[in-house]
Structures are given as C-alpha cells and as structure tokens.
Subunit: 627 residues, 2 copies
C-alpha cells in the first residue's frame, strides 16, 4: 500500500495521454490498466489485512485518479456489486458469490437506474415475474424506457450484474428487489440469450468506465438468484416481506458522506493547481518601473482562490464529523434503534447537495482563474470539474435531495410547534429566532445563520399553510412552495457547515503550535465572513445587521485575504498531493508550468509529423482551386 | 445561402460523431469537412453578393455549429486574418494579400497571445528587429514564454500568419505591430527554416480547430511584410508613428458586441434542449392515483429554466442595441470624432463579462436540469458549455475587463463630482442616489438598480480615497479595492442590461398582437423580478425595500413562473433552431428523447462487436488468475 510503488509500475502512467485516444482506444487502454492495477492491488492489499476499509478505499480513489485521470470499468465491482451481495444476500448466497467476486473470478456491476427513471426508484419498470411452475423469475423490459442505463462496466466488461427489478407474483406487484443475473458467457463473453447489452456512448466524464445499457427479453433465472436477505419468495410463490425498509437508508447515507469527503479532495486538487500557477504566472504592470507581479498578488485572484482552500477544509471537517455520527447511528441500527436515522438522513440530504454545488462552482472558478491555460486538458482542471459535477446528479439529484431534507425540516418544525422536542443537529431550531445584537464575531455570525434557518423554515411552513388555505391540495402547495423549501434546506445546511467547521477546527487547533493555529483559524474566519457577505440579503432580513456592519465585514474580508496571502502556497502544499496525482502542467510542485505545457503538447500524435496527410489530400487541391 | 441546402451536402453531417474519434482523426475529419464546406460557401456566397456581412457571419456561425459541433481550422482565416489585412495593411498590401486570401490560395491565421502573456498585450515578448543593411525584420522568440500559443489553424493548417511582435530599431523598442509571415512552404507545406510550429494539444473545446504554437529562431522577412497602414518603418530604419491608437478600440468593441449576441444564441440553444426534454420527461408521483407529471410542471424546474429564456432575450436586445451604438460611433470615428468611444468601450467591458458569466452559468444549469442524461455528450449541452465558457477568457479576460470598465466609471464619477457632464449610458449616474419610495413596479426596480450602481461607484471612489489617505500608493489602493471595483462595474452593467431589455422590448412589443405582447412582457417582468431577488442584499442596502416587499417579490416571481408555463414550449420553439443545429438527443422537435439516446448510443464504435478484443487479451486470463 505505497503510492510510489503502485504508480511506478511500468505501463500505468507512461502511456499516451487519455485525451488523444479514440473512444474505443480509451476503453481498451483502461481494461489493460485496470487488470494491471487490480492485480497489484490484490497482492498489496493481502499484505495489509490490518488496514481498515476506509483507508483502503481512500488509497484506491487517490491512486485511481492518477492512473485513469478518471475511473476504471471495475469501479462498481468493488463499490456496489460486492457491498450489495454482502448487504442483501442470505448467508448461503454470500458464501457462494463472495468467494467468486472477491477473487474476481467474475466481474460484476450494479444496475438500478433506467432510461426513464433515476432518483425516483418506485418508478422503475424492469419486471421480474415469478413462475412457480419452473421456480424461475422471468426478467423483462416491457418498454424502451425500462432499459437499464449508466452502470459502469456493464457494456463490455462485467459478466454478472445485480439488477433491481419490480417483482410480480400472480399478477401482483411486490416492490423493487435485487436479482443476481449472469449477463455474459464465462467462456466466450457473449451476451446470454434474451439479454441486450451495449455501451451508452460518450459522456462529459467517466469515458474509461464503460457505462452500459441492459434490456431483457423474457430472460429466465432460477429462484435462488433473488438476493433474499430481506424479502423472500418461497417455492410456491408466497411472498415474505422483509424487515424495516429504513435499514437501506444506512447505505445511502454512507455514500453521501463519502461524496462530501470526495468534494473536499477534488476541490483541494483544483485549488492546488490554480494557486501554484498563480504564484508563477506574472501579468500586467501596475507600476511602470517594477516587474510584472505574480497574479496571486491581485486581490481579485485571492478572492477567487482562498475561499476554495477554506471550503475544502470545511467539507473535510464536516465529512469527518458526519462519519462519526454515521458510525454511531449504524451501531444503533444494528441493535434495532432507528430514532436518529431521520435526522442523519436529512443532514446527508443537505450536505451532499451543498458540498457538490459549492465544490463544482469553486473548481470551475479555479479553472477560470488560470485564464486560457486552464482550458488546456493538460491542466487537469476541466476533467476534475467533469468528474465532480457528475455528483450533482448521482446518488440522488441535488434538488430532489434538498426537497427530501425540507420534508424532514418541515415535519420537525411542525412537531416543535406542537411541543415535541427537537433532537441533535436540529436542536438549534428551538432557539432564539432573532439576533439580539449583531457583534460581527465569528460565533455571532454563525448564530445568525442559525437564525436565518429558523426563520426560513418557519416562514415556509406558513407559506405552505397559506397555499393550502387558498384551496391548493397539500401536493400542489408543496410544489408551489418548493423554491422556498430548497432555500430552507440550504439555510439549515449552511448553518451546519459553518458551525461544524468552526467547532471541529477549534478542537484540532487547540493542540497545534500557535502560528499554525493562527493560519487555520484565519481560514475559518475567511469562510464565515465570505458566507455572511454572500448571504448579505439574509443577514439584513433576519440578523439585524446595518449598512455599517456590512462595510465592516467587507473591509475585514479584504484584510483576511492579505493576512492569508503569505501562507497561501504553504496551505496548498500542505494538501500534499503527489505530482502524479495532480496530473497537471500548471500545478506541479516545481512550478515549471510553461515548460510542462510544451512538453505535454509534444505528446499530441499530431506533432509526430511536420505535415499531416490531409494537406496533400484536401488542402493543396483546395488552395489551387482544384477541388 | 440556404441552411437546408448546405446541411444536406453528403459528407457534412452523416459521419461518425466527433466524440468517438481520436484527437488526430478529429483534425483530419475537420479539414475534410472544412474544405467541403468552404467550397460550397464560396460558390453560394457569390450568388448572394447583396447579403450584408453580418448576415453572412450569422449564417456561417449557425451552420458551422451544426457541421463541426465546434469550429473549423479555417475560422481565424475569415474572422481575423482577412480583417487585419483590411484594417492594418496599406492599399498596396491590401491589394496583393486580399486577392490571395479571399480565394483561399493561401490560408492564414492571427498570432497574438503567447505562452506567457494574454490580455496584457504590452507584455508580449516576440521580437521583430529591423536590420537596415538587408532591409529585413528578424523575428525571434527569446524565451519559451514568448512562443505564440492558441491561434486556430496555426498548427498544421495555415501557411501564412499575421504575427504581433515588438518592434526594435537600433536597440529601441517601438511597441507592438503586425507582420505578415509565411510559415510553411506553399508547395510542400513544410515549416520554413527558423520557424517552430506545432499543435498545443487537447482542450476543453475547439478540438477540431487545430490551435497551434509558433516560435522563431532569427527568422528573416522583408520590410514590406510589416502591415504599415498605421505605423511605418522606412528603409533606413526611421520609425513613423501611426495616428491615434484609440482607433483599434473599434475592432475590440465590435468583437465584444458579437460575443454578447453569441451568448444569446448559445443560451437559446441550451434552454431549447433542456425545456423540450423537461416536457417529455416524467418523474415521481406526488399524488398516488395520478400519472407521473412532466418535470416541467415542477416549480423548481421552471425556476431553473424560464430565466434562461428571458436572459437570452435580454442579451439579444442588448446586443442589437449595442450594434446600433457601435455603428454610429464607427461613423463618428471615420470622421475623426472620438468623444463617444470611451463610454462605448466601458459598456462593452461590462456587457461582455456579464453576458458570458450569466450565459455560461445558465447553460450549465440547463445541463444539470436534464439530470443524468444531460451528462451524455449526445445531449450537446456539455459541448455548448465548453464553447461558451471559452468566451470567459478570450477577447479580454472577464475580471480584467470589469476593472477596465471600473476605471472609466471612477473617472466619470470623479469628473461628475467636479462638475463635468456625464454622457449617454452614464448620464443616469447624475440622477437621484436614493429610492424615494419603493413601489415594486418594473420601472421602479430598474430605477433601483441604477441607484445601486450610483451608490457602489461613489462608495468605491471613497474607499480608494481612504486607502490612499492611509498611505497606499494609487496602484496599491486600486488593487486593494478591486473586489469592490468589479462589483461597481457589475452594478453598472446590470442597470444597463435591465433597462435596455425593458425599453427595447417595449418598443418592439408595441407593434405586436396583444397576446404575444403579453407573453414577451411577462419575460421582462420575470427577468427584472429574478434579478431583484438575486440582488436582494443590494435592494435592502440601497433601495429602501422592506421585509414585506421582499415577500411580495417572491410571491410575484412564483406567480410569473405559473403564468409563463403554458407558453414555455412555444417560447423555445420560437427560437426556431433546426434539429441539425441543436444536434441533441434530448432537444429534438419530435420529443423522441429515449429513442434518440439509444440510436446515438448504437453509433459508438464499441457497439460494433459484441465482445471486445480485450476480453481474450486481458480479462479472461485475469479472471482465471493467469495474468
């Protein structure tokens, strides 16, 4: 488990850059590298049985980003296929399938999303109809929109797939369940009869991942292929419902926490690149007799970049804190206690959207802060954005999640008004709904954000009631208020992000040297001040702030930029990315950006010959008027 | 000049989609198509000599976007090479070069930006040293950062290039001037001696454009290759300075106006795609017994999309209005009158950044509003974003332009305080600096935006003075205030965008049928209300608006969304894009999104064979543990 060791394997990093290959070559190259990489991983991880799963996963993610600039077609085998067998299979099923899956005797993927339905799982149309005569399920795709669409590795890589399908027994629907389906022959790799497989085509990112589609034409699988840890279908077709379906929330929360921490990581990468480039790029000449300044000395540039450093810290602190809550709630779940799940679920439904919205916007700002060179793929900023922005949609579309969170918040508020207690991260909602006197302190600002959340939640409850009173159904009232509902969820999320970042950093900073503590707390100060100014309308509406207070905040913000400037390069160096991982002409540690831009350009296959064949074939006849 | 005629030429649209080709194949394919396309254009345009240049350009842009999904390596030949010969060449030079360039006997490009310098033109490092003994200029690239970098067609297409270089005569620098340089042999297309040429590599967009780099090793060209309409170098090395350098502002303004109108067009394209898809996509089931609604019926979706329709209208109206001002100022320039140029320049320096910032953000929002399918390249939203976002940087980086505009605004304000009159689009700055009573009307809100601009400009002048009083040099004070300076420029730009959209639409709407007028004015209302809410902090700080007024604005905004909903599809249909131009699986007129997604997927070369060769070569041995 040594980055250096893995990255130096011949054939993993020393090939033609991804962006010059055709779509087909990208796939073929990623299979070659995946096999090489996973072979190494398996042997290395065996040596490290003691390392916990989280560290393993982090290591994989980090090294993968260097090797693929993207991801591997095997990705879902580890992140979804194996965990679903573990979570949804009976003991017998786990024993049988895990042995084959762990050694990668078979390669699997996980198919849930369909052409016609994503986040709304109840809408899935793939059918699994039980036939008690043969004791088989008949898998069928009744319409084009029921085709599975998106799963990584599904197109030409995997030979097994867990398929989420709607179970029918004797004409009656029993909800969505997981089925283990062999999709390709193990010997020839040909798709099995009744199985329609293919690739979904080129995308903004993940082009090495081999995303596929899958349809069924009355394809039969034996009864034991339904994963039956929860619900079961007996031989005669009797349906036995599973225990509490809320248990599956656990996994969803886990993945969303993972996304918050991924966003911290991707944003750290982007700002490292942009900030290092800003330290070597020189431009303009404000003072006639002085050299051109580093662009990092322009306050507008500091304004674009320093908040990205602070945000990466904020997301990381929040993700770590959320992990802890997740673990303790998981333990409670295992012993049957579900009380804290809704609050955790609501929190993950706020923080996943906010972290992806902020991180993608800031990654893009980092790219734009590099001017024209940020547009070069060799800078690796556009690709980082492409991968990050996918998280806006996957694992629950952001707007849908914010509305789910709003449902919990509205419910909690209505309960609170009726006298029911508010728990955990929602407890603050029972506090003061006004700011007595704005003092401009960090704690005071955070308190104001809590007040904003209280006011927005209580006000949207009022709006919902008004709409209903005016004759709308509860569903139509909900829809009509939905812009305010997402705003209420955002306000809750912002209050949490700010207060957790502050309290977690305070805890950690207490044991650090005073100079280091000072810099880290300046970033907290910057983050809180930045958001107070971004949300100055909310501060004015709900936090009794005056014009003068706003001026004061603005001036403080500018002073903070100046205070952080001397440590800016050190702060991104401290993220400690290897050059192979940053994979960027602009962001390498040695600062040789122009030299690297030229070196990378020379790798373009077009530069292998001084005259391209199209000159003789097209250009010359055209210029001579002979075409 | 018939879209249908050009688009139906065999070989232009019926090839493998761009995204499946390798980088080299993309170039080779784009040369094949460019030659086919320009041959047709030349013959068609000859038939249409009466059509004005603007219409020709629009037609080219529109058809080009269908053919290349991107652009052609010949792009700069027409948009920069020819105009520079026309604008900077002497009569003799124009006569000689235009004949060759117009027939495309030679293919040219324009090289200004270098690895080390972009927007800051004075920083360019390429040298042109005059040698009076041989009457030649010696072109030289003294350092790597002086290499030309970016010009379209430069890498392997063009054989001539206009090079901007710093002129040295007898050791003295005389500023930046244009030189006509042959870069490749006309017969063999080999780079000439002393000329280093190549491709800069893959980018976020424009990958069919063949962007190149160019360096010189003491390459000599004859004296008559300097374009000498303005400055001249006589045989003996005497330098004759040109007339007012402000004349070149004209072209810069022209290009920036063009960008505002391009942004209107690109945004219209993106919202057409996203809105049509939202009308066929159905999701979730708020009411148990009713079918899943079109996602366009969700208010959150309307909130994402309708503002994009209105913004496209606003940019178009502003661009058309700016064209008129540009033409009248051009006429004044021709007769030596420069008075109105600074104001026009400042305006273009605000509207180019604001239109690119808004349009790119909204195009991206359109993509995200399509959920996962927006991530497919076949939707053509990611590519539209890639092309649009380039305008954030080219033709003057946005932050730099906003600061240039701020310089004009600050100067105008300081003059105003001293009693000098404010002219044209800045005249409003002399008006009331407070809103007497907020009435929530459209005109009242626009008036408030003008007050915000007045207050932000006057306040930043005060900040600059304070910083200088505290001991900072004017340059350091400027830098320290730069975040507020860009905000002041934005405020000016917003006031103009809003008021011009309103007044121009009022003018046009007057002659329309009442139902059509109503819908178009609803969009103006939506746009103004949306921005009042986006800038609610400014409204609260400067426009004496109350909590209740904010509530009222919010409710009105929601009502406007509901009012526009029935006409939303009609509004994007009215943009009147042909399917070939939209080029999108999600946005076609017939609404067959799922069918088209599958049809496009089947064009992936990976789907030509059921089993990829890598199964036998890598996967099977790996799964059997034999690799």
């Amino acid at each position: 488990m040594d980055e250096q060791k893995v990255l130096s394997i011949k054939g993993l990093l020393d090939d033609t850059p991804e962006e010059y290959l055709s779509h087909k070559e990208k796939y073929e190259n990623s299979i070659r590298k995946s096999v090489l990489f996973y072979k190494t991983l398996h042997s290395t991880e065996d040596e490290n049985m003691s390392v916990d799963e989280k560290t393993k996963l982090n290591f994989r993610n980090i090294v993968t980003s260097a090797i693929f600039k993207d991801n591997s077609p095997f990705m879902l085998h580890n992140s979804m296929f194996i965990p679903t067998i573990m979570g949804q299979g009976t003991d017998e099923q786990r024993e049988y399938w895990m042995k084959r899956a762990k050694n990668m005797e078979i390669i699997g993927t996980y198919a849930q999303t369909e052409l016609g339905h994503g986040t709304f799982i109840r809408g899935l149309e793939t059918q699994a109809t039980y036939d008690p005569d043969t004791e088989e399920f008949v898998l069928h795709s009744p319409v084009l929109s029921s085709y599975k669409w998106w799963p990584g590795g599904l197109a030409h890589t995997a030979n097994y797939c867990i398929v989420m399908a709607r179970l029918y027994i004797k004409g009656k629907s029993h909800g969505i369940h997981p089925f283990m389906v062999q999709i390709r022959d193990e010997e020839t790799h040909m798709p099995l009869p009744g199985i329609k497989l293919g690739e979904i085509g080129a995308k903004l990112g993940f082009n090495t991942v081999n995303n596929g589609f899958l349809g069924f034409e009355n394809h039969r699988i034996s009864r034991d292929r339904m994963l039956m840890k929860n619900a079961q279908v007996l031989k005669d077709g009797t349906f036995v419902a599973g225990s509490n379906s809320k248990l599956t929330y656990g996994t969803m929360v886990y993945v969303r926490v993972l996304i918050v921490s991924n966003m911290a990581n991707m944003l750290a990468k982007a700002v490292t690149i942009a900030l290092r480039y800003s330290a070597i790029r020189r431009q303009s000449q404000p003072k006639p007799d002085e050299p051109e300044p580093q662009i990092l000395d322009y306050v507008t540039q500091q304004h674009k970049l320093f908040i990205a450093i602070a945000s990466s810290h904020a997301f990381y602190m929040n993700a770590m804190w959320l992990w802890e809550i997740y673990y303790s709630v998981s333990l409670q779940l295992a012993s049957g206690k579900l009380d804290n799940l809704p609050e955790l679920h609501a929190l993950a439904c706020c923080l996943k959207p906010l972290s992806t919205i902020d991180a993608t916007a800031m990654i893009e700002k980092c790219r734009l802060a590099c001017g024209g060179h940020g547009y070069m793929l060799s800078a690796n900023l556009a690709q980082t954005y492409g991968l990050a922005t996918a998280a806006y949609t996957y694992e629950g579309e952001n707007t849908v999640l914010l509305l789910q969170a709003a449902r919990s918040l509205v419910k909690a508020w209505v309960g609170h008004v009726k006298g029911r207690p508010l728990k955990g991260t929602m407890a603050y909602l029972a506090g003061d709904s006004t700011v007595k006197a704005w003092d401009g302190s960090i704690d005071g600002i955070i308190q104001s954000f809590k007040v904003v959340a209280i006011r927005k939640i209580s006000s949207v409850v009022k709006i919902l009631q008004d709409y209903e009173k005016s004759g709308l159904s509860p569903e139509d009232a909900w829809n009509k208020a939905s812009v305010f509902l997402t705003a209420a969820s955002e306000a809750h999320g912002r209050a949490v992000l700010l207060s957790v970042y502050k309290s977690e950093m305070d805890k950690r900073a207490a044991v650090l040297s005073p100079p280091l503590r000072k810099v880290l707390l300046q970033l907290v100060d910057l983050y809180v001040t930045y958001w107070a100014l971004e949300k100055v309308g909310d501060m004015l509406l709900y936090a009794s702030i005056t014009d003068k207070d706003v001026d004061e905040l603005q001036r403080r913000y500018i002073e903070l930029l100046a205070a952080i400037r001397p440590n800016a390069v050190g702060l991104v160096d401290a993220f400690d990315f290897r050059d192979e991982i940053l994979n960027s002409t602009l962001g390498a540690y040695d600062g040789r950006a122009y030299e690297r831009l030229m070196e990378e350009a020379m790798k373009s296959p077009l530069n292998a010959e001084p005259v391209n064949q199209t000159f003789h074939k097209y250009l010359k006849p055209f210029m001579r008027g002979k075409l």
